[in-house]
C-alpha cells in the first residue's frame, strides 16, 4: 500500500493507516519503553494526536514516519517524566534502594531489546527504525524530525552504547551484523 493512497483528512484512510502502522509503532515504542502499558498508552496517544492533525498531514512526508515522529516524541516525554517519578520514589523511600528486578525475568527478557531500553530514546529509536523497520536515512530523519547527518550520528552513538552493554565485538560496522547496511533500499512498512 503506497503512501500516496492516503488522503489528508480522510477518516477511512486514517483507519487504514492505523491498522497498518499501529503494530510497527507499538514495537518501536516497546524498544524504547520498558513498560508495555506505557508503550501502548504512548502509541494510542500518538494516534489520537495524529488523528487531530490528519487534515494537516502533507504527503511529502511518509504517513507512517509522521506517526512515528509523534509517537517517539511522546515516548521521550514519558521517559523524561519517568525519571522524575523515579527521583520522587527514591526520595519517598528516603534513599533506600527499591526492589530489584526479578532475576527470572532477566533471564527470559530479550537482552537486545533490554539494552535498547537502557540507552537514550533517540538513538534507540534510530536503531529500531533502521534495522527493524528498514527505514533509510531520509525516512529516519523525517520520523525523528532531525537532519540526515544527525541520523548518522545517532546510529553511531547507538552502536557504541550497545557495544558497551552487550559485547565488546558488537558493532554496527560488522558486515554480518546488519545486512541492511549493505544497501540503502527503502522498504518502509511491511
Amino acid at each position: 500500500m503506497s503512501e500516496e493512497a492516503y488522503r489528508p483528512g480522510d477518516k477511512a484512510d486514517f483507519d487504514r493507516l492505523y491498522r497498518a502502522a499501529y503494530p510497527h509503532v507499538y514495537r518501536t515504542l516497546s524498544a524504547i519503553l520498558a513498560d508495555p502499558q506505557a508503550a501502548e498508552d504512548c502509541a494510542q496517544d500518538a494516534f489520537v494526536q495524529a488523528f487531530r492533525a490528519w487534515s494537516r498531514w502533507r504527503p511529502e512526508a511518509p504517513a507512517e514516519a509522521w506517526v512515528h515522529r509523534i509517537a517517539v516524541n511522546r515516548a521521550i516525554s514519558y521517559r523524561r517524566s519517568a525519571k522524575l517519578r523515579a527521583v520522587g520514589e527514591v526520595l519517598r523511600r528516603l534513599g533506600r534502594p527499591g526492589p530489584g528486578a526479578d532475576p527470572a525475568d532477566e533471564a527470559i527478557k530479550p537482552s537486545l531489546v533490554a539494552a535498547l531500553r537502557s540507552i537514550p530514546p533517540k538513538p534507540a529509536a534510530a536503531i529500531v527504525l533502521r534495522h527493524y523497520h528498514g527505514y533509510n536515512n531520509r525516512e529516519i530523519a523525517a520520523a525523528l524530525g532531525v537532519s540526515e547527518r544527525t541520523v548518522g550520528t545517532r546510529l553511531r552513538q547507538a552502536g557504541e552504547m550497545l557495544r558497551a552493554k552487550l559485547a565488546p565485538d558488537f558493532s554496527l560496522d560488522e558486515p554480518g551484523a546488519f545486512p541492511s547496511e549493505q544497501h540503502e533500499e527503502s522498504y518502509a512498512g511491511r
Binding site: 486514517f14 514495537r27 524498544a31 494510542q44 487531530r52 529500531v128 527493524y132
Partner: protein, 161 residues
Amino acid sequence: MEERLRRELDAVQPMFSSPRYLSTNRRPAALRFAPAALAAAVLGILALTAYAGSPNPRVWTEHVFAVVHPAKASPTPNEASPRPQPSPTEDRHETPEPTETAEPRESPEPHESPEPNQSPEPSGGGETGSGGSGSDGSHSGSDGSSSGESSPEPTPTSGDH
C-alpha cells in the same frame, strides 16, 4: 544481530484494544477558542474596572457615555478652553460659553443680577428700581441689554469695555 532484533521485536505483540482516537470528540472551532475568549473577557473587565475606577458596570457605562457624548453628558464648563471671557454681545453670536459667569441667553443668577425687573435686592427694599439702575457700574457693557431679557455680567471684571 538484525535477525535477533527482528525476532525479539516480532515477539512483542500489541494489545489490540479499540483505537482511542475513535472516541475522541473533535471539538468545534468555537469551543476551541472558548478559553481564549474567556480570557479576553476577563481582561476586558479588568481594564474597564481600572479605567472607570469601579467594578460597577453602571459606572463603566457613564464613563463611556461621557467620552462618546461629552457635550450632552456634562454641562460643566470646559476648563481647557483657552478663549478669554467674551462680552455678552459676542456670546450671542456664538455658542453659549460654558463658563461660570452667567450666559446672556440663560437666566441670570438671581443673587448677582441687577435686573431691575427681576427679584429685588434683598438688602434694600426700596431699591428695586433704582438699585438696578444704580448698579450701572456693575453692568458690564450691558447698555443695550437692559431690556430685561438678558442679564448683565454679574462679575464686575468681566466684559468691561
